[in-house]
Symmetry: C2
Subunit: 471 residues, 2 copies
Amino acid sequence: MRLLEEDFLYHQVADRLESMIENGVLKSGDKLLSVRTLCREQGVSHSTAFKAYAALESKGLVEARAKSGYYVRFLPKSAAPRFAADPEPNRQWSVEEMISEVYEKMSESGVMQFSLAAPDISLLPSAKLNKCLLEALRRSPSSCLLYADASGSENLRRQVARLSFKWGGKPGSDEVVITNGCMEALSICLQAVTRPGDTVAIESPTYFGIFNLLKSLHLHALEIPVDPETGIDLDYLKTAVQNGRIAACLFIPNFNNPVGSVMPDAAKKELVGLLADAGIPLVEDDIYGEMYFGKTRPRSCKSFDRQGMVLYCSSFSKALAPGYRVGWCLPGKFLSRVRQLKLTHSLSTATPTQEALSLFCETGRFDLHLRHLRKALHTQCLRYSQAIATFFPEGTRLSRPQGGYVLWIELPRKVNALDVYRRARRQQIAIAPGQLFSLSDQFAHCIRIGFGAPYTSAIEMGLKRLGNLVM
Amino acid sequence: MRLLEEDFLYHQVADRLESMIENGVLKSGDKLLSVRTLCREQGVSHSTAFKAYAALESKGLVEARAKSGYYVRFLPKSAAPRFAADPEPNRQWSVEEMISEVYEKMSESGVMQFSLAAPDISLLPSAKLNKCLLEALRRSPSSCLLYADASGSENLRRQVARLSFKWGGKPGSDEVVITNGCMEALSICLQAVTRPGDTVAIESPTYFGIFNLLKSLHLHALEIPVDPETGIDLDYLKTAVQNGRIAACLFIPNFNNPVGSVMPDAAKKELVGLLADAGIPLVEDDIYGEMYFGKTRPRSCKSFDRQGMVLYCSSFSKALAPGYRVGWCLPGKFLSRVRQLKLTHSLSTATPTQEALSLFCETGRFDLHLRHLRKALHTQCLRYSQAIATFFPEGTRLSRPQGGYVLWIELPRKVNALDVYRRARRQQIAIAPGQLFSLSDQFAHCIRIGFGAPYTSAIEMGLKRLGNLVM
């Protein structure tokens, strides 16, 4: 009986280790647990542990090294090549699937990334941010290991409040909630002002992540047309408001993603008044607001908000540190509800990254960096635009954004953007097809091109090949 | 006309700066924007900017320093003392409000924190983790500034897969999704397997954060009784399953918070089988699994899962780095849905903290640290228990946890834990009253005491005062 049990145990341990070697969790040269530790932690006898390792050794998977222990051996990879082409070229994709695919390809090396609305690493002040991170660890009595407040670090909330001066605000630091990037800010703000089944007005076209967000919160989207220059069609919105279907709005009034429109101040003021009168909260995504090419920063809707009905959201992801995942919101009268949701869904935001960004702002480096970044982006925007005008077929129309990271290209009506996307992928070029930016089919001939990467001859070649593809 | 507009503008700028000085966003000694920058970024004329600063100067709020610019002056604080006592002693609190209050008091200095289920900073290897963070920045070509994969860093997912060996698993790294702590893991796993209006079975008593989570996702809670030794009452659960009301379960099978129970292996196996037969997914919170005092780590329910119906969740928050906010889940057959939800709600988890933790595990430091931590916690548990047995009144019953961070104390029936909580607060002692751990009133005479802080004479005094308070 005792023997049988031991037999079962050693097979079980050996089997699990073998799986982990096969699926690459344990790699050549990795040290296995010592026999002593294995016995103690898995509650098996010495002989069971030895038998398990011996079984793996006899299969040639591990080797014993004198006075050191057991190691995973060098194993030649079974080099089954991955099939790179699209396995189901004729299948109808859902927007959700396409978005996942775009994100999956995001960090693929060797691919020319025109699909992102984000800065190239060469535009980011990595050495100076590293210094701030080290300094933050040094200054914190607990090395940033303990929880920050659920609303965020007091230091960072003060810096975010200071940044608000730029868009016309004057909030106190206790009105700020720090989040895991702008996506979490949008998610909890939307949850604070809606219930499942509600309808939310969004721009058309708009950032594709918003469709996933609404769907996962069981909300319906009502698309409001956007003018490429002046943003939201206020007359259209007014009618929708009068029809009484809208529970909340989620708009990107500054440098709308993807068309780049900016609502004029008067339109922002009218929008805020219209929604306040109807008792409809506005979630304002201002993530591109600081990336303006003109002389002055566009104001936010929040700066016209007298009744606390605007929930302002932004982040450091576009301007400074995408991988830090630090954003924020100023939820107006919904502050306590938003705080509660932040606490409920992720407790608090990581402490080291918050403190590093706070130092970066405090020293004035952020302002300086933004000035450089804006200049670089403006130049890149112009050069990309010129190349597209040169290489793309007649009948192509191009947006003229005054800020942000993206160009919106209307191709001749007969072109299907999804076909362009697939053909480009085969040439190692990634773009965002128009189908991603609306639930309707009206942008099926459009594509979005990000100009976050500095303009080089390789980029020029990429745009040229893309232009040829479209023809 | 021109003059009137300028008048309006300078008042507006001065007013916003004055607010920011008054609410502490701008502090004594802070430098204001240069006049040039103010003009450029806010689009105002030189004379407007000067007038705004002059107005602030004449109010004594800012001062000009020669060749340097404008600075906020030293302002004597209006020292209105904060009223510390409970402003509404007789009001009925909601569980939600109590939880918010417990978290708000979490980082208050000068308060003896028995309310947390978390390690004291002195138990954490901060210097070694700092080193790993620096090394991670050094190794990353982009200084960890770029987005990690939505599912998490490949390095860290491999380390998490390796850790799974300890609880009886053998997952590949592509089965892991990295999250912003265990709370986000629980949140997205629950969202993946439920719809608003569904009923979720939870333990009674259970961790209070779970009530907030269910409420915010519009889910109903069905409380299943827990035995202080063996966990979930399986007969009770069986009946509930047969009644067909349960859409999912969310349990803490190892070292349940707050009672410390551990389900025996046979019970775990039975639970997994029972739920699989009924087609009910199990979200398993194993956040305390590594903090065992006995010889071997308790297995997880996930290790008995043959059908991918268990969504395993855990994190580094209890063992290593609460403030890093890095957790994970293994969502079984719900992997692609959970990945999608992670992408939708927060895009990805912060890169620097993920890479630092990955290095910490890779070098074997995590195993070593866990061994020290377990010993320390076991000792603390015994000494706290002894003190409570000594200082608390007759009729007090105390849990005997074999792992984790907390003791569960049943006081004589006539005692109201909320009263104890309030009286303790006045003496700068924080505890978690039993009312937090159930929607029913059945634990109103219980309190939870965390033993995460090393036992000192100050702790002993605190427990003694607490014992006196209860009498």
